[in-house]
Symmetry: C2
């Protein structure tokens, strides 16, 4: 009779995975404009400390500017695209800050939507700019959620509410 075995590596992997929480893809504007980079950094820190592992910490990296070349470790545009799409496939949640208009964030949301990921979009209305109909109108109350907020405190409380209703 074969002895039932529970491999130590599987146990450690489960323990580590539990500790690190679900994988989160944070999306924010890069070449569309870095005006909100400090906010991205704060959201990423909050996600890391309370809700899971952030795969895309570089979005909060101030060395990355809108018009300069990205630091060498990020590779070519094709490397960036292919790595980001792999991370989208790997993640469970996508949290996107969509105030600063960005083609890349839009593309990531389109790919993530097609993959059936759980998506939260955060938008800061300024009284003039309107959020894209393709983003506002993608809201379906379950996998694609769009929330307006006015400041970082409100953004963090939206995160708390969002993750409280999810496992």
């Amino acid at each position: 009779m074969k002895t039932w075995q529970f491999p130590v590596t599987t146990f450690l992997w489960l323990l580590l995975n539990k500790r690190m929480g679900p994988k989160i893809y944070f999306a924010g504007s890069i070449r569309g404009g870095r005006q909100d980079v400090d906010l991205y950094y704060k959201i990423i820190e909050e996600l890391k400390s309370k809700y899971g592992t952030v795969l895309t910490e570089f979005v909060g990296d101030k060395r990355i500017t809108a018009t300069g070349s990205p630091p060498k470790e990020y590779g070519s545009d094709k490397d960036i695209h292919d790595n980001d799409v792999s991370m989208l496939e790997e993640c469970k949640y996508v949290v996107a800050e969509v105030t600063q208009t960005s083609l890349g964030v839009g593309y990531e949301l389109g790919r993530a939507m097609a993959m059936g990921k759980s998506i939260l979009c955060l938008f800061r209305p300024d009284g003039e700019k309107k959020l894209s109909a393709m983003i506002r109108g993608a809201e379906n109350g379950t996998t694609f959620v769009v929330k307006d907020y006015k400041d970082v405190t409100e953004a963090l409380s939206i995160l708390q509410e969002y993750f409280a209703t999810r496992e």
Copy 2:
């Protein structure tokens, strides 16, 4: 013995389809900014007259502004999103003008890429703004093509070259 029949309706449908050419989804910025609306209009007119049927003529409609409400016939943001995604599914080609940064265009490109559509992106470099790495890096030489151009004449000759190598 059953007589072979070629239904008249099928014949007419094939004739009409041949005459109207393939369905093309043109993507351009709306709430991201309407600075290039005249250019969108010219590209749409060229696509219609030479290469197929444009499903999204409204992108060249000057009544649609970045900050105003869209004319009533376009419905709610959800209607716009759902209709646009249906048209993406229906089209054969996506032609996107990606100079004016737009979340919606990015989203459409992400969805279209996931659907395996044939995509042509047109970008007008201005010496400062860099095209998103997610768009530039999605180039694969076959289904996703990115071309730089300097003026409308060059854009139209890129269209000619693009469609000449496709059926």
